[in-house]
């Protein structure tokens, strides 16, 4: 249905290897897998840290409460293995929505420590900077501004990139070691996507963002 542009052609995908999607019992991993498969990428949901070794690209999805997310990662024995593949083995890892926030040092949601893979914190939307008619959570499609040059943000769509968001908190960078990839505006500008080397995060849901998401996940599969 969304077989799209020439850049998502199969030869590239086949050489890109296999993507492991971490299933730590907190959310739907099926839709991420389905969109990757529709884009022609090989993708498998993994429910044990031992399986991380089989993949050269990892996606950490997630919805819900930060503390519940960290608790599930801890209970499944994921925390050290994820840190190891990201920091030592330098495998490409993409956090989506709560998965992006979990890459941070700390979140205000539950006053909880994160994986500490990206030098940033997670903060509630600042209600005082939002006009009264803007509800929290920020839920819905929003356009984003891609900044800098990064393979993940590359788009060949005629329309401006837009993605589906559902969140009450957003990341705030601690240092300029982390590169913003997408800015979004909800009352004020916040970082919708960022990266440092092999570690990347997206606040929105590419798997629920039609062709814009297909394109982004295809970029991840190819980079």
């Amino acid at each position: 249905m969304h077989e799209s542009s020439e850049k998502s052609g199969r030869p590239d995908i086949d050489s890109a290897g296999h993507i492991g999607i971490i299933d730590y019992g907190i959310c739907n991993v099926g839709s991420v897998r389905n969109m990757l498969r529709r884009s022609g990428a090989l993708a498998t949901c993994i429910s044990s840290p031992d399986e991380l070794a089989d993949f050269d690209r990892i996606i950490l999805p997630g919805v819900g409460h930060f503390q519940a997310g960290m608790a599930n990662l801890a209970n499944g024995g994921w925390i050290e293995p994820i840190r190891h593949i990201a920091l030592v083995e330098k495998k490409r890892i993409l956090g989506i929505c709560l998965g992006m926030q979990l890459l941070a040092h700390h979140s205000e949601e539950g006053d909880c420590e994160g994986l500490g893979l990206l030098d940033m914190d997670v903060k509630h939307f600042d209600r005082s900077r939002l006009s009264a008619e803007l509800p929290i959570p920020h839920m819905g499609w929003s356009e984003v501004d891609a900044v800098g040059a990064h393979p993940l943000t590359h788009s060949e769509q005629a329309e401006k990139q837009r993605f589906y968001f559902v969140h009450s908190l957003h990341v705030s960078l601690r240092s300029d070691g982390v590169q913003p990839l997408f800015w979004c505006n909800y009352g004020y500008p916040f970082i919708a996507g960022c990266a440092r080397d092999n570690i990347m995060g997206m606040q929105f849901h590419p798997e629920k963002s039609h062709m814009f998401g297909v394109e982004l996940l295809t970029n991840f599969a190819r980079m």
Partner: protein
């Protein structure tokens, strides 16, 4: 930067999509997965699926729900007969983004509160069905519009916020399937009573109705069943969704009316 949300609603009965008139089953639309695929190919903003067959036939088959989630590269909300956290957890596992809770909420249950703690508010939709009564007041009904509760939608919206819902769908029972326009007075009263996003449902007939309920009345999104399922003077079954240019025109016109 924020886009207006226009949301098709499909009613599930077994494996079929049907459409109701004032909450009574009226017409067969087609296979539910096929209908969802068409909305997907038309890049609908979101999709709401409500299982209306649940009361007589039991919960829908997990494989139908999984298949629906697989076909949707857009947010998918599912509702109908959900009355436990375990049921909610299973739906999220199947790939549903949001669950819509009606009877288990409006009859005084605490399911939204319990589920919000576990899954977060953003995934919980409080669904409120209401009728305009003979005296002009609005009253909430449960169980597919069959049981009057003696509570106003405004009061119910406040309870939804207190319980930790992330969104409210306010549906007009008397306008369901009628295509006479939204009950704007009711929608506005709920919008004013809460800071939660409010989705209007029931009565929409044109793209202009969708745009106006958001821009003029403050709804966060506009949902509809019939107008996305039927087409033309004879109301033939045809899954449809406004094109980008139709949306833009309607939005521009609604902005004009709002500032006039």
């Amino acid at each position: 930067m924020r886009r207006l949300r226009f949301i098709p609603v499909l009613l599930l009965d077994g494996t079929s999509a049907i459409k109701t008139h004032r909450f009574a089953p009226a017409r067969y639309i087609g296979d539910i997965v096929n209908a969802a695929q068409i909305f997907n190919s038309k890049m609908a903003d979101e999709l709401i699926v409500i299982d209306v067959g649940v009361h007589k036939k039991g919960a829908s088959q997990p494989h139908v729900i999984r298949h629906l989630a697989e076909e949707c590269f857009m947010p998918l909300a599912f509702g109908g007969g959900i009355n436990s956290v375990a049921q909610a957890a299973a739906l999220f596992k199947h790939g549903i983004e949001k669950i819509s809770i009606n009877t288990a909420f409006v009859e005084g249950g605490t399911l939204i509160e319990e589920a919000a703690k576990q899954f977060g508010s953003q995934s919980l939709v409080a669904s409120i069905d209401a009728k305009r009564e003979a005296d002009g007041r609005y009253q909430v009904y449960s169980r597919g519009g069959t049981r009057a509760l003696g509570v106003s939608p405004v009061e119910m919206a406040r309870r939804a916020a207190d319980q930790g819902a992330g969104e409210i769908v306010i549906q007009s029972i008397d306008r369901d399937g009628m295509r006479v326009g939204y009950d704007r007075e009711m929608v506005r009263s709920v919008v004013e009573a809460t800071t939660l996003p409010v989705v209007a449902l029931g009565g929409a007939d044109t793209v202009a109705d969708l745009a106006r309920i958001i821009i003029e009345d403050g709804a966060s999104a506009a949902a509809a069943g019939s107008m996305f399922s039927f087409y033309g003077r004879l109301q033939a079954v045809l899954i449809n969704y406004p094109r980008a240019d139709e949306r833009e025109q309607a939005v521009a016109k609604a902005c004009e009316l709002a500032t006039a």
